[in-house]
Amino acid sequence: MSKVLILAEHNGSTINQSTAKVLTAAKQLNPQLIDVVLFANNTDLSGQVAAMNGVNEVKYIQCNDNHDQLAASIAPTVADMAGDYTHIFGPSTTFGKDVMPRVAALLEVNQLSDVMEIIDANTFKRPIYAGNAIITVKTNTAQIVATVRTASFTAEKSTDGTATVTESTLTSAANHTSFVNISTGNSDRPDLQTASKVISGGRGVGSEENFKIVYDLADKIGAATGASRAAVDAGYVPNDMQVGQTGKIIAPDLYMCFGISGAIQHLTGIKDAGTIVAINKDADAPIFEVADVGLVGDLFKIIPEMMEKL
């Protein structure tokens, strides 16, 4: 029988929804138990994890400063615990991608990156070539380390969990690495990775100023905002808005994009969306091949018209 250890992700005050998605994936192993390890400097967070249905034990590791975010500091502790488990899962977010390969290296196993489907306790599916191919992989190591592609699993909103919480203190803090600062886009809009609706803009929007109408439409329908790599590279929007293979992989109910041509790397980030709506002035843009609803036209005319009619 499988025993799963999940690495929780948080922003200091709230558990990231990626944790609930990894939990959903872990449950598909039909495991004997699921424990969660949480590195933080805020004990409220352990309560949030304990309330998740299906968690057996929350291992809260008290951290100083911001060591909870540093892979070199926390990976040795995760690896030390791993002997008691068959599966060690983390989210396939920038946090999980930073930490989990270190855990795998300490356990001397290759990692399964971006698990999108669980076939059985040893067999999984994952994308390669930016999602142009899906491989079925099998591994029989005593510990299986994986990052879970969060867009492939839904987050259960449960609060009836009754996990026990054990507390200890981080002893593996690295002294060769230190946190300096973080700058975030800081918008009041819904979080791009968990929003049910996302409005995105691309190079066709044309400038930072022009992005205002994209934001206006997003606010009108309560959507998060995203962007293509081209729009980020051009400096129209900050990097945390990038959707795609090297940005965020998202699965909202509605994804509506303006002035995005649809490079394969962008399509990889949205192919799990419920409904994709594309507005582009180029009728031959590849985005129309994946869009559920397409409209050829000028976004600077279409967005104001939508604002008026919605």
Binding site: T94, D233, D240, I302, K309, L310
Partner: protein, 251 residues
């Protein structure tokens, strides 16, 4: 200081790969091969650090078959001083690649290792982190900016989901590159000629790293992704809004 740049030969990013009908792999015969784009950014960053006078040598290394010499020559045409091919005809997974690169590090003693955050074929995003772990040195992944604080300390700005995070690491360290770190230079014809005379050392993987730990993950099947259903094209905003309302996506 010496900078070691690890690169991988991959199917060019413009090629849309196809799964073979029998599910045994992807068709790579005759397709264009290139330096992994993230690794090209790693080469460029190493060259810029050298041009700032912070490093005196850029050594580029790859693990692969003999054809990978082409990508090493391209890296030297960009400006790398010399190259190492760790030759093998077998596919090498991240944990094994990290062990091989550690052997190269032991021989070369670089002050900084720069490599792409992931290869665009297997999309694993593991080797830099694993290398840093085995080397017992810091890592700075997904870098969009590298700044020297002093001779043995760098500040690295990282592209993370929440925005831009800056961390400070002591050297030696492993930096993995993200897309916006720099724009790699174009290679000029005279540099291609010059690169032919630069040293390229070939070592057999079996000689350099005879006993690699850890077992490989087995791939049992390749398949094409499920295509999305063909959608509809509408002519007017009114039609679009009607569809969205029907689906309950807007009110």
């Amino acid at each position: 200081m010496k900078i070691l740049v690890a690169i991988k030969r991959v199917v060019d990013y413009n090629v849309r790969v196809q799964v073979k009908p029998d599910g045994s792999g992807v068709a790579t015969d005759g397709v264009k091969m290139s330096i992994n784009p993230f690794d090209e950014i790693a080469i460029e960053e190493a060259l810029r650090i050298k041009e700032q006078g912070k490093a005196d040598e850029v050594v580029v290394v790859t693990i692969g078959n003999n054809d990978a010499q082409q990508q090493l020559r391209t890296a030297m045409a960009m400006g790398a001083d010399r190259a190492i091919l760790v030759e093998t005809n077998d596919a090498v997974q991240p944990l094994q690649a990290a062990q091989v690169l550690l052997k190269v590090i032991e021989q070369e003693q670089p002050g900084l290792v720069i490599t792409g955050k992931q290869a665009i074929d297997d999309d694993n995003n593991q080797t830099p982190q694993m290398l840093a772990t085995l080397w017992n040195r810091p890592q700075a992944t997904f870098a969009s900016k590298v700044e020297f604080v002093d001779d043995n300390k760098i500040n690295v700005t990282r592209e993370v989901d929440a925005g831009l995070e800056t961390i400070q690491v002591e050297l030696p360290a492993v930096v993995s590159t993200d897309l916006r770190l720099n724009e790699p230079r174009f290679v000029k014809l005279p540099d291609i000629m010059k690169a032919k005379r630069k040293p390229l050392d070939v070592k057999a993987l079996a000689d350099l790293a005879p006993s690699l730990k850890g077992q490989a993950i087995e791939v049992t099947n390749y398949e094409s992704p499920q295509p999305r259903q063909k959608g509809v094209m509408v002519e007017t905003v009114d039609e679009l809004i009607e569809i969205l309302k029907d689906k309950g996506l807007v009110s």
